[in-house]
Amino acid sequence: MEYVIIGNGVAGIHAAEAIRRQDPAGPITLVGDETFLPYCRPMISMVLEGAVPMERLPIRGADYYEKLGITPVLGRRVTSIDVDARRVHLPGHPAGIPFDRLLIASGADPRPIKADGLDLEGIFYMRTEAQVRAMLETLPSVKNALVLGGGLVGFKAAYGLVRRGVRVTQLIRSDYPLSMQVDRTAGEMILAELVRKGLDVRVGVAATGFFGRGRVEGARLSDGSELGCDMVVIGKGVLPALSFVPRDRIDIDLGILVDAHMETCVPGIYAAGDAAEFFDIARKTRWVNAIWPEAVIQGRTAGMNMAGRPVALQGSLSRNVIRIFDMDIMTGGWVDPPDSEGFQVVRRIDRRSGAYRKLVLDGDRLVGAVMVNHIEQGGLLIALIQRQAPLRMSGEKLISTGFNYRQLLN
């Protein structure tokens, strides 16, 4: 059995390892755009912040590919897939690379923005270690930074730069940051903490263009004003990297549609991680959950299935844990469903200790949770959402500070 894996991110390497455990001999070719060793992508923002040194990023050793008997093809992107001939095409391989089982774990690329002057120096996306490396090289000469976007990437870039002592202005579309991850109350708590630590946040403004001589010196904003800055970070979310996938053959919505075995509509072709769109347990519909732990489990599952061991996943779940300054935030599932959905919402806020909790219940099942501070046992709530286990206690009991594992045994 010949295996080809597109993507050397965490989904790709976990798939390769799962295949190797089942099939010690089958040739595995791993195509990756990034030439760096397999590394921990979520940690790049911690490198920017200065909390973790660059050399801690790799999660596998230099002899990784050799030890696992993987043929790495790095620094190149796949250009097309021939579904009938079962080959992937890419520069440098005129005949293509044949496969019996293919995994598309190509991940996602930053969502591009439309603005003038994007070719100036000092304008960055923040997705790869190479981009963070370049940001760090520029950092000593940066006094004022502009961050576009209030999602996870924009937020982490802004936080990292504030921690580095840079004056940061962040432009966000909604009233509060992380609007895809948290609800308004938690979002406003986060915003207040960031503003208190010196971040300048502007709501409802976008950047229309950048100017400077070679290097960026400022930005023009949609309200007509100008803003001086010597660094710009664009964090407007990510889109699955799927330009090479034949849409007439493989079903795609936002990501590649997969079943519980991570298989696409074409037998033998699988997808996992940020590129895949899978059933979301909380939302009860298909959804792209582009997060690290999903990529890990989806990659492993895809690998096991590719090697002939049928393993099914129940679904994916959006979840995140973020620590900023002295504040901890954990979220999972559907945290802000529209009122029309008829879910029960339980909240508890303690302004003095800065603790906040919100639970979203669908009948006797938990579908969403937001926690600000006291997150140590948050995994219990996340597990309850993942398992969709019927609760034998009220939402009020579940949200109380005394809640612990023992109560689930009652």
């Binding site: 999660i59 844990v321 140590e376 046992q377 948050g378 995994g379 594992y405």
Partner: protein
Amino acid sequence: MKQVVVHPERCVGCMQCMIACATAHSKTQTLFTAVQEDPLPKPRVHVGAGLYGEGFPNRCRHCDPAPCMLACLPGAISRDPDTRTVVIDPDTCINCASCAMACPFGVIRYHEDASAPAGKTVAVKCDNCLDRQRRGQVPACVEACKSGALTFESTGDAQRRKTCEVAKTVSRDAGFEQLAPGFSMLNTVKRTQIEMAHR
């Protein structure tokens, strides 16, 4: 291979395992001096109260595969090959709390610890008292438990014993036999008290 086995029906919630655990993971290993240490030693077993005041010593199950190990960003969580114990390396841990989100039992805490570099907050959880085991001692929580809620034995032995206990209760002439008679009476009393208080 011996493991710590929890028998929830026998826990009275005395929390002596917590004190013993914190002491066993302190610098000085003696309660008298441990309480004066900085950072103050903290337990890795967490006795929680049920809805009716029943106790339960919640500790790491050393799952296999372990969700925390798969979720750990810097690769600080690994498995000790000899004892199958899941351990966190405090030097590699970056305190990102990804393991808190992954642990379905809520047994990981974040604080400074005698085992970590001074001043560094790290993820801390049960390590099966590997240091004590190497010295031929049983885990501290088991040594402290007076009610038999925590035992150190092979899971095979524990299962066999439990199977026999359950079998006794279902044989035709046995009548109804409590698995842990004194404890279930205690829990019934606690439950009744709480229900009466609510009325």
